[in-house]
């Protein structure tokens, strides 16, 4: 599984990253988390609002800081 956090590095992006990392740890999933902070690359995804969460190349959320339960639901699908 590959997880990407799109955001230029504000507290909301950091919180989403922390929540995603915590969920992976809780579920015992080994996944790569990468951060995309380049605004040009972010807009190439079509994302107009950050933070955004990308799972295996698919944008699953934008403009929201998902909590751990919300991330768990997405990852467990």
């Amino acid at each position: 599984m590959k997880i990407e956090i799109l955001g230029v590095g504000c507290p909301k992006c950091k919180q989403l990253t922390a929540n995603a990392e915590a969920v992976l740890k809780e579920l015992g999933i080994c996944a790569e988390i990468s951060k995309v902070t380049d605004i040009v690359k972010i807009t190439e995804y079509g994302v107009m609002m950050t933070p955004a969460l990308v799972v295996d190349g698919k944008i699953v959320s934008a403009g929201k800081v998902l909590n751990k339960d919300e991330i768990k639901k997405i990852i467990s699908k």
């Binding site: 909301k12 992006c13 605004i39 994302v47 609002m49 950050t50 934008a62 403009g63 929201k64």
Partner: protein
């Protein structure tokens, strides 16, 4: 790093003009831009929704209110957004008094339609573009 380019500000109102090829389509586009310029809403790309660009779809989900400005009763903007699963507040320019094929796309008409859609929050004075909004 976070700075002036941060994209994490909350989305309030999004406006989607149909931007059709007719006179009223052009008017819808200019009205959408006017409303956005005046800070009453953020303009978004209807084409991106029609193309099912997932990043754009997900971005729109965080909007508090979605406005479609349709030039004519075919309601392409409203229908495109509804196909994507969004609840939309539609403003039809026909219902605002602009007839397809009979509308001049002038600054005055842009201002008039924008004022009707925003409930008068876009000032009537079109001569001074720097003060296009009411307080």
């Amino acid at each position: 790093m976070a700075g002036n380019n941060c994209m994490c500000q909350e989305i309030g109102v999004l406006v989607f003009p149909c931007s059709g090829s007719s006179d009223v389509g052009e008017l819808s586009d200019r009205v959408g831009r006017k409303i956005a310029k005046c800070g009453q809403a953020k303009m978004f790309c209807l084409a991106g929704i029609g193309a099912h660009i997932s990043g754009m779809i997900e971005s729109v989900k965080s909007a508090k209110r979605i406005i479609a400005i349709d030039g004519c009763p075919v309601s392409c903007a409203k229908k495109t957004l509804e196909h994507a699963g969004f609840q939309v507040e539609e403003y039809s320019l026909k219902n605002l008094g602009f007839e397809k094929g009979k509308t001049n796309v002038t600054d005055e008409n842009v201002q008039k339609a924008a004022a009707l859609i925003t409930g008068g929050k876009v000032e009537k004075n079109i001569s001074d573009s720097s003060s296009c909004c009411t307080a």
